[in-house]
Amino acid sequence: MSLMTMIVKMSEGLGKTCAIFFLTLLFSLPLGMIVALLRMSKLKVVSAVTRFFITVLRGTPLMLQLLAVTYGPYYLFGTTVARNKLIPVVIAFAINYAAYFAEIYRGGIESISIGQYEAATVLGYSRAQTFLRIILPQVVKRIMPSVTNEVVTLVKDTSIAFTVSYQEMFTIGKQIANSQTSFMPFLVAGVFYYLFNAIVDWLMGRIEKRLDYYR
């Protein structure tokens, strides 16, 4: 098989790689905020339970979580394994990344001085207005570098979908590598991820720049 054929075949999986990437961000970014707010809840039970789930999600491999989400229902309830693997992949990824984002959000929210809340309260801002208008915009700016880190990691983590044979770029590459006994597909995959992340880096850099209008 020529290198060109390999590249073309693997490119066909890029759409699915992107699907994992964008859908995971779409769900995990907001879900992370909910988890962060639960984690910071004044109700001890709520924050303790949330904290426990975060430690589990951050303390076990994403690969294991993906296998659990994909095949767990079959072993537990005898239900059939989803034919479209994108669903379990996105569920596992979104939950896992939400746990990481939650901790980033929490760090950002807790880094805003209490005086900002007090100033807003005295000026008649409601709790929701204070959070959405005063706190959140400042949090977004502060956490951008950490979020960029996670997003870059996510690009590479999409390859973990090969464990459940979801036909994304890396899974196809691995299959070609096996059938052709060639290392080339892995090199191609490496270049793809590198280029993908170059775009991510550039985009996140632009967002950070846009938030640069204040300190």
Binding site: G115, E118, T121, V122, G124, Y125, Q129, Y213, Y214, R215
Partner: protein, 262 residues
């Protein structure tokens, strides 16, 4: 006819804008405010002085509902915000909040907002007319000597300018009484003057103010009354000259000596 006259004669004088009675506050069992009572008349400036940890900031923060008092009364314009240690319902407290403004030691401007937005957003969120608020904000900034700074961001301003923005922001809400919590303590010495000047100007315009401060000459020159606090109690209060030049209590003398030496 005579009855009517009698009634008007018996009617009490207009209530003070702020009245605090026997205010109590402790942190973790440690008493920080004990039996604090004071009134602030409309148009008066009251300075609160005292060593750090004396409870003067806590007192101001209690009046602004940023700290929860454990006992006593807080009345605005004769209406109870706190009665015998029990606060009025939340909606009512929000209405009381509109009566006062607070200027913080470290400004607490919103860094992601331009100067103009810092000053104009709060009244706009209260549903006031946007154009009217904008004009008011521009006028206030001009009055604070910040003409042309409307589109600047807080980080581009000096500390003294930032504090004057904070004062404009508080005034834009048209409070009946303005609280200052050590407004010049975070400023370099050469910048305190410009902030004290605008406060003095407000005093001349009969703005009602309570100022927690360490600036003794300012307190003496501007206030109608000085309150000296120490150890969570009001040790002495009265005419600024009387308290600062001829204190009756040993604790006050001791405190003021430190300033004389400096």
């Amino acid at each position: 006819m005579t009855d009517e006259k009698l009634n008007t004669a018996q009617e009490p004088a207009a209530p003070d804008i702020l009245e605090i009675r026997s205010l109590q506050k402790s942190f973790d069992g440690q008493c920080v405010l004990s039996d604090i009572s004071l009134e602030v008349e409309r148009g008066n400036v009251v300075s609160v002085i005292g060593p750090s940890g004396s409870g003067k900031s806590t007192l101001l923060r209690c009046a602004a509902f940023l700290e929860t008092a454990d006992g006593g009364d807080i009345l605005y314009d004769g209406q109870y915000a706190l009665r015998d240690g029990v606060y009025a319902p939340k909606a009512e407290l929000n209405r009381f909040r509109r009566r006062f403004g607070l200027v913080f030691q470290n400004f607490q401007l919103f860094p992601h907002y331009s100067v103009l937005k810092n000053v104009s957003e709060p009244p706009m969120l209260q549903g006031e007319d946007r154009e009217e608020v904008r004009e008011r904000a521009v006028a206030l900034l001009k009055k604070m000597g910040l003409e042309g700074k409307e589109n600047a961001y807080p980080y581009q301003l000096s500390g003294g300018q930032q504090q004057r923005v904070a004062i404009a922001r508080a005034l834009a809400m048209r409070p009946e009484i303005l609280y200052f919590d050590e407004p010049t303590s975070a400023l370099d010495p050469e910048l305190t003057g410009e902030v004290l000047k605008v406060i003095r100007q407000l005093a001349e315009e009969k703005m009602t103010m309570v100022v927690v401060t360490h600036e003794m000459p300012f307190a003496k020159a501007v206030s109608n009354r000085v309150i000296f606090m120490a150890g969570g109690v009001i040790v002495e209060q009265g005419d600024p000259r009387a308290v600062l030049d001829d204190p009756q209590e040993e604790r006050t003398r001791q405190f003021l000596r430190v300033f004389d030496r400096a």
